[in-house]
């Protein structure tokens, strides 16, 4: 009647191979990585800041930032990430051991953010670039800080409210048509504060043996 078919065995075998090599092997090889400890200085890296980042990371995920931004720096052979000033070294698996969910990303319609927290403005640029106030303005409407940007406006992460007593320290400094009515201010919601808090902690520049030596940040261009 029914001849025993090699089909099931074969189907199971090819799939088990794929599962073993690309799902189980990384879990075994990379799943138990530990932070490095410098014997001389007692310096530990990476440090678990997951608790501090958790709220902001959740906002980053919920707004789908990953649709256009990566958080990984590749070495020279794979692209110009380092030349752009996106980092001082490539990122490696150990960098991410406390990052759950990990937000490596697969698309760059905008710059990489792996080191956005430690990035410095270049000569000639707005000296407040990458500051907390700059991030709020950038999120509110990216065109205010980066003309021509295609990043969505996250105005829904801000609220306009009546100034009661002193002005909020985080209130946006807007001029012209963007400014709120007199007596009102535009302030970031808790979500926006969490998100900017997360972005400003993003820093993968601590030296790591397996990532090779850190480079000196480029003097010209880059860092955009």
């Amino acid at each position: 009647m029914k001849q025993p078919s090699p089909i099931f065995n074969g189907i199971l075998a090819v799939f088990a191979l794929s599962f073993g090599v690309l799902a189980v092997a990384p879990a075994l090889q990379l799943g138990s990585l530990q932070p490095t400890v410098n014997e001389d200085t007692g310096d530990i890296y990476p440090i678990d800041v997951a608790g501090v980042q958790a709220q902001g990371r959740a906002v980053y995920v919920a707004q789908g930032c990953i649709a256009c931004h990566t958080e990984q720096v590749r070495d020279e052979s794979a692209g110009a990430d380092l030349d752009r000033g996106w980092g001082v070294r490539r990122t490696v698996a150990r960098d991410y051991i406390y990052e759950t969910p990990v937000l490596l990303g697969t698309m760059r319609n905008g710059p990489d953010l792996a080191n956005i927290g430690s990035r410095q403005p270049q000569p000639g640029e707005d000296p407040n670039k990458y500051s907390v106030a700059w991030h709020y303005k950038h999120l509110y409407d990216a065109r205010l800080t980066s003309p021509g940007s295609i990043m969505p406006s996250y105005k829904f992460l801000f609220e306009t409210k009546k100034i009661v007593g002193q002005e909020d320290a985080n209130a946006l400094k807007l001029t012209g048509a963007d400014a709120p009515q007199p007596g009102y201010e535009i302030v970031p919601t808790a979500q926006a504060r969490d998100l900017v808090g997360y972005l400003t902690t993003l820093d993968h520049s601590h030296p790591l043996a397996e990532a090779g030596p850190n480079i000196t940040p480029p003097k010209t261009g880059g860092a955009k």
Binding site: I11, C68, R84, A93, V102, L104
Partner: protein, 494 residues
């Protein structure tokens, strides 16, 4: 039902010719799968319209970022995963499941028992997709491509597919004795693989025992596996079924077909890490995946040669049969898509293609130009056999083909070229220091993408109307297939 069939056959056999028995046999099989298959097809078509609308809005947002930008649920970061998930889980999988169920029933010559299983599964599936899409729009999602749906939705999808898969395998086990046709191998594979792939990927990315980049590796393994173990399986299985049926000629070589099947399944499963070339992983992962992807040239060659050789001397059929025209488009798109994917993944090309619109181009090549076009072809073949009337209008079918074929072809061309431009600009920080400088360079392509959605939208709407007319039995009762042009030579055509 099978008892009735046997009795009917026994009682009437002396008076009936073999052809008549064959015809009754087929009708009984078709009748037994009609409701579930039509349910999957109808829901798939409805989701396709939703995907068209959302995809169009996404394309506008890429050059007009404040368009519909005041609501969090319409922000690009949510709308984009909603689009890809609807295209894959709302349209793609149900269309493939419907096709695989029908072809499995025909190939195994089984009258389907327990119709309620696939129907329940279809209902679960669509509830799962709805819940998942609403959750994504509300911002409740996982940050992994095509695994965005939250736990509640993915559990529903898993249960639904596991029911279909188990039931498909049972159908296969109860097949009538005889040769197992190549399409069946692909379908059995798809029945088995998807639940395993989906469950293990969801469990592993959701697990707190695994952390860091391992989640990303598993997500890459899943996204790549889905393209090969579901879309390629069902798409190629359907092509192997439809082309020989319509042109009335067996496939060119059965051995080539088997070689193509096994070599593809073996090599494709190892290609996932091409998505992280240069990423924070030990280098052997991407080296292995690139090597495996280059070896995929073997199945691309064998499957391609096999189907094209089968079509040799029958290529005129693309001028007559809608099914052949759509499936041949799918076949060519599969070959081209694979070649472009392989070319884009080698280390010399990767800096120009990685993290760019190029990857969206290959995604659309495989999920739309290959798989969806093949599914359209399959539906043009299957639906008349289920509803008992023929498609209303050859002009509608012709417009559907031109709209979908040219629309997606144009869009993919823009995506592939703009991806290479984007990659080249990212790698030239001196000339294009700011992100805005890079994106400015591909702005014309991004605008063109919205234009490409217009013929696609018209095509999908026409097909939907045409399809609903068939569901309402408003088609032509003639019994003759609706062709683009009459065929002079003989042969069954559709």
């Amino acid at each position: 039902m099978p008892e009735t069939l046997t009795m009917q056959k026994a009682a009437t056999a002396p008076a009936m010719t073999d052809a008549e028995i064959e015809w009754i046999d087929r009708s009984l099989i078709d009748a037994s799968v009609r409701t579930p298959v039509m349910f999957f097809f109808t829901t798939a078509q409805t989701w396709l319209l939703a995907a068209t609308l959302i995809g169009f809005v996404c394309s506008i947002k890429l050059y007009w970022p404040t368009f519909l930008g005041d609501w969090s649920f319409l922000t690009f970061g949510r709308l984009w995963p909603a689009y890809t998930n609807i295209l894959v889980y709302g349209w793609g999988l149900p269309a493939g499941i419907g096709t695989a169920i029908w072809m499995t029933a025909r190939l195994c010559r089984v009258v389907l028992k327990s119709q309620w299983i696939p129907i329940i599964s279809g209902i679960f599936w669509n509830i799962g997709v709805t819940v998942g899409v609403i959750a994504v729009l509300a911002g409740n999602m996982q940050p992994y491509e095509l695994l965005e749906f939250p736990r509640a939705a993915s559990v529903l999808l898993f249960i639904a597919y596991a029911l279909i898969g188990a039931w498909g395998v049972v159908m296969y086990q109860n097949r009538r004795p005889g040769h197992v046709y190549i399409s069946m191998w692909y379908f059995v594979g798809a029945f088995f693989w998807f639940p395993w792939l989906y469950a293990s990927a969801n469990v592993m990315v959701g697990s707190s025992h695994i952390h860091g980049v391992v989640h990303a590796a598993i997500a890459a393994w899943y996204a790549q596996g889905l393209l090969g173990y579901f879309f390629a399986s069902v798409g190629l299985g359907a092509i192997y079924y439809l082309i020989p049926k319509v042109i009335g000629r067996p496939i060119h070589s059965y051995h080539l077909a088997l070689l193509g099947f096994w070599s593809f399944e073996l090599f494709w499963g190892l290609t996932g890490m091409v998505r992280y070339t240069g990423g924070p992983f030990p280098v052997w992962y991407s080296s292995l995946s690139i090597a495996a992807l280059i070896l995929v040239l073997i199945p691309v060659g064998t499957v391609g040669v096999n189907i094209l050789m089968t079509m040799r001397k029958h290529t005129y059929m693309v001028y007559h049969s809608p099914t052949v025209r759509f499936t041949m488009y799918g076949t060519v798109a599969w070959i081209v898509g694979m070649l472009i994917m392989i070319l884009g993944s080698v280390r010399e090309m990767d800096p120009y293609t990685h993290f760019t619109q190029f990857s969206i181009g290959t995604f659309h090549l495989l999920v739309y130009a290959f798989f969806s076009m093949t599914m359209f072809g399959a539906m043009y073949y299957i639906v008349p056999r289920l509803v008992g009337c023929e498609w209303l209008s050859a002009s509608f079918i012709r417009l559907h083909f031109w709209g979908a074929g040219y629309g997606i072809g144009f869009m993919i061309l823009l995506l592939i070229v703009s991806g290479c431009v984007q990659g080249g600009c990212w790698n030239d920080p001196v000339s294009y220091p700011h992100a805005t400088d890079v994106m400015d360079q591909i702005m014309p392509y991004l605008r063109g993408m919205s234009l490409a959605w217009i013929p696609l939208g018209i095509a999908h709407l026409l097909f939907f109307i045409h399809f609903i007319a068939m569901v309402l039995r408003l088609g032509q009762p003639s019994g003759e297939p609706t062709l683009f042009a009459p065929i002079e030579e003989g042969g069954e055509a559709h």
